[in-house]
């Protein structure tokens, strides 16, 4: 193997400009290949990473829906959550209600997404400042109802100037006239939190679920989603199956099942990455095959000489294959540097699409994506070297040497 590696190295450095150009070309196509492997399943990997960070192993939703995808509710969710919580290995089952509300601050009114959660620290968000909902209700305002503590997201603080301790009025009614016919609640901002799946300008508030139900005029006990925390997340699939079998009104998903369900909606990106990834690999193959074929064509005399000196046919074939693999391997660092830089820009473009949560990414560099790219590039190098290797294998030594001498 030593002589082959030595000869392959010497051959490549003998024409540095050509080798540099090929490596540059392969770096660009390799970068595109890396980007496509990052895109294939990148959004799912990113979503999975955020979901795992939240710490909830199972999500229970109304049958046929995904979390907060519509108005559907699990009636009597509090009781179902209590039953789930009694299962072995379950540390918490948190019913969460999601709905749209209008928030009024001074004379301004803006739509907001509201999360109705149990008091305490439900884990549906991460507090970044102030206190959580466990704070006791404040003194009564002009209305008879007490002032309710709420937690707002950072967009509200940034875009609307909402501060901890500030007073907000919450209502399901969009206008001041209709508000006269709807429930209204004055609230005090207890804390500011990161809500994980917020859109870039989305306003979100979290408040006690009973208060939200009253504002929405909904019966007690209902929820949009139940989040389940477990001591051993590896048992999540079994628990999800048990919940779905016990209650036909709901679907229960472990994180893997949830990602599989959402993955069905990402057909475009998966197929786009498959098509463009294949084309990148094809271009890399053509580049290596073309360059090596021309290179071998120039060196036929030299190769015949090696054969005449006793170099076995298999070693010559191996030499050409190693050259192809070496070209591909030489392009890997450039492909990764360029690929990551391009992916950042492409990610920024796609994230500007409306309806994409801030914490998600379309391009995610996972170890699987990196290994797949390296594997495909090296395999492409070997395949690209296959044809010129076959040419050298068929080479007849004496006629080739004769032609060289005559020319």
């Amino acid at each position: 193997m030593g002589p082959i590696l030595f000869l392959a190295f010497r051959t490549l450095v003998r024409v540095p400009a050509r080798t540099a150009l090929v490596v540059l070309g392969l770096s660009v196509t390799g970068a595109l290949l890396l980007d496509m492997t990052m895109l294939a399943g990148g959004l799912q990997a990113s979503l999975g990473s955020v979901l795992s960070r939240l710490g909830f192993a199972v999500r229970v939703v109304p049958r046929g829906t995904l979390p907060f995808s519509g108005d559907a509710e699990i009636a009597d969710a509090d009781r179902l959550a209590a039953v789930i919580e009694a299962q072995p290995g379950v540390t918490a089952a948190v019913p969460v209600l999601g709905a749209n509300l209008y928030v009024q601050q001074g004379g301004r009114r803006f739509p907001s997404f509201a999360l109705g959660v149990p008091s305490g620290t439900p884990g549906a968000y991460t507090l970044v400042a102030g206190a959580d909902l466990s704070a006791r209700p404040g003194p009564p305002s002009e209305e008879t109802a007490p002032v309710i503590p709420i937690v707002v997201n950072q967009n509200m603080a940034r875009l609307d100037g909402v501060r901890i301790g500030g007073r907000l009025v919450l209502s399901a009614a969009p206008g001041t006239i209709l508000q006269a016919f709807a429930a209204v609640q004055t609230c005090r901002v207890a804390g500011i939190a990161d809500f994980y799946f917020d859109l870039p300008t989305q306003r979100t508030v979290a408040l006690a679920a009973p208060v939200l139900r009253r504002l929405l005029n909904r019966p007690p006990g209902g929820a949009s989603l139940i989040l389940v925390r477990m001591t051993d997340p590896s048992r999540a699939d079994a628990l999800a199956r048990w919940i779905a079998a016990r209650d036909p009104r709901v679907d229960a998903f472990s994180i893997q099942e949830f990602l599989a369900r959402t993955g069905a909606r990402l057909t475009y990106f998966n197929q786009f990455s498959a098509i463009l990834g294949t084309m990148s690999a094809a271009v890399a193959f053509l580049l290596i095959a073309a360059i090596l074929t021309l290179s071998v064509g120039e060196r036929l005399g030299e190769i015949a000489m090696l054969r005449a000196m006793g170099f076995p046919r298999a070693s010559i074939v191996g030499l050409v294959l190693v050259e192809g693999i070496a070209l591909a391997a030489g392009a890997i660092p450039g492909a990764f540097l360029l690929g990551i830089a391009i992916a950042r820009n492409l990610d920024r473009i796609l994230l500007s699409s409306p309806g994409v949560p801030e914490n998600l990414h379309f391009f995610t560099l996972t170890s699987a994506a990196a290994l797949r790219t390296v594997g495909i590039l090296l395999a492409t190098g070997a395949l690209g070297g296959a044809y010129p290797a076959a040419v050298t294998a068929r080479l007849e030594v004496a006629p080739t040497l004769h032609r060289e001498v005559v020319s």
Binding site: L32, V283, N345
Partner: protein
């Protein structure tokens, strides 16, 4: 058959016209007539005249309905990836079923000027209709009832923003592929230049001017680029046919997913020619750097 109506459309007050060949006998008052989307009818294995039960909750209560017709929904591009089964009911029926009183999700307004029929039907300048719509939208949004009105143009602009993002994404990917093909072309032309070294040496020794040598290298490079471009257009055309056939079947729609336009062809050919000439110029510079005797290996 029972269908849990999880996500439904609040349809206009009347059903779409029933195709005569598919019409069903009128249903009793307590059995609601419904119109099923093709996908829903196929998935449920039912057709006109068949009975089904509807509910907004998986556990009921259930309302009997009869399929009056099967329709092919007009899908917007934003909806093609969704697997939602579509069913249309009379508006009061759906409001009763959902328990939403007289609530609706949206109201579509057709305008008519005081002196004549709707602008869309008179062939008048579209600007006049848009101005009328804009004025009405301004008046509606000034009311304190808490809704938001949009003109059709505004709504189209809002809904098309994901596609503008996708178009920018495709342009960025296109730029990367142009970069890759440029390097490919330069690499090939470099090899071609090395191959032509002796030939160029002879040409220069017999008095051919460097300008002619450069021109010939440029013509070869542009020719290779344009030939590659022509083959690429052919492959792209085949790929486009395949993409349209595949995605139309996958999403059951008549939408066009890939289109090769004359502008695209012009851009592709122009970029190829420019890249070819640039690669040729680089190669010519490399070839002419050496003297004729050096090129002949002496």
């Amino acid at each position: 058959m029972r269908l849990g109506l999880v996500c439904a459309l609040l349809a206009p007050g009347v059903l779409y016209c029933v195709a005569p060949s598919r019409s069903a006998p009128s249903a009793p008052a307590d059995v609601w007539p419904v119109s099923l989307g093709e996908r829903a009818a196929s998935r449920l294995g039912i057709g006109p005249g068949d009975r089904l039960d509807l509910s907004v909750h998986p556990a009921g209560p259930w309302q009997a309905a009869r399929v009056a017709q099967v329709h092919r929904p007009v899908r917007y591009p934003t909806e093609v990836g969704r697997e939602t089964l579509e069913i249309r009911l009379h508006l009061p029926d759906l409001q009763t079923l959902a328990g939403r009183g007289d609530e609706v999700d949206s109201i579509v307004v057709r305008l008519r000027s005081p002196g004549g029929p709707a602008p869309a039907r008179t062939g008048r300048a579209p600007e006049a209709g848009e101005r009328l719509a804009a004025e009405l939208v301004t008046r509606l949004n000034a009311s304190p009832l808490g809704f938001r009105a949009y003109t059709s143009a505004e709504l189209a602009a809002r809904n098309s923003s994901p596609f503008e993002v996708i178009a920018r994404f495709h342009r960025a990917i296109g730029a990367v592929t142009v970069l890759a093909s440029s390097v490919f072309l330069v690499a090939i032309m470099t090899l071609k230049g090395e191959e032509m070294r002796r030939q160029v040496g002879v040409m220069r020794l017999i008095g051919v001017s460097p300008r002619t040598v450069v021109s010939s290298v440029l013509v070869i490079a542009a020719g290779v680029a344009l030939l590659g471009s022509a083959i690429g257009v052919g492959l792209g055309y085949l790929l486009s046919l395949g993409i349209n056939a595949y995605y139309r079947a996958l999403f059951d729609t008549d939408l066009v997913f890939s289109r090769i336009t004359p502008h695209l062809l012009g851009t592709s050919a122009g970029a190829s020619a420019l890249l070819g000439i640039a690669a040729g110029a680089f190669t010519a510079w490399r070839v002419l750097r050496q003297g004729p005797l050096e090129q002949l290996g002496r």
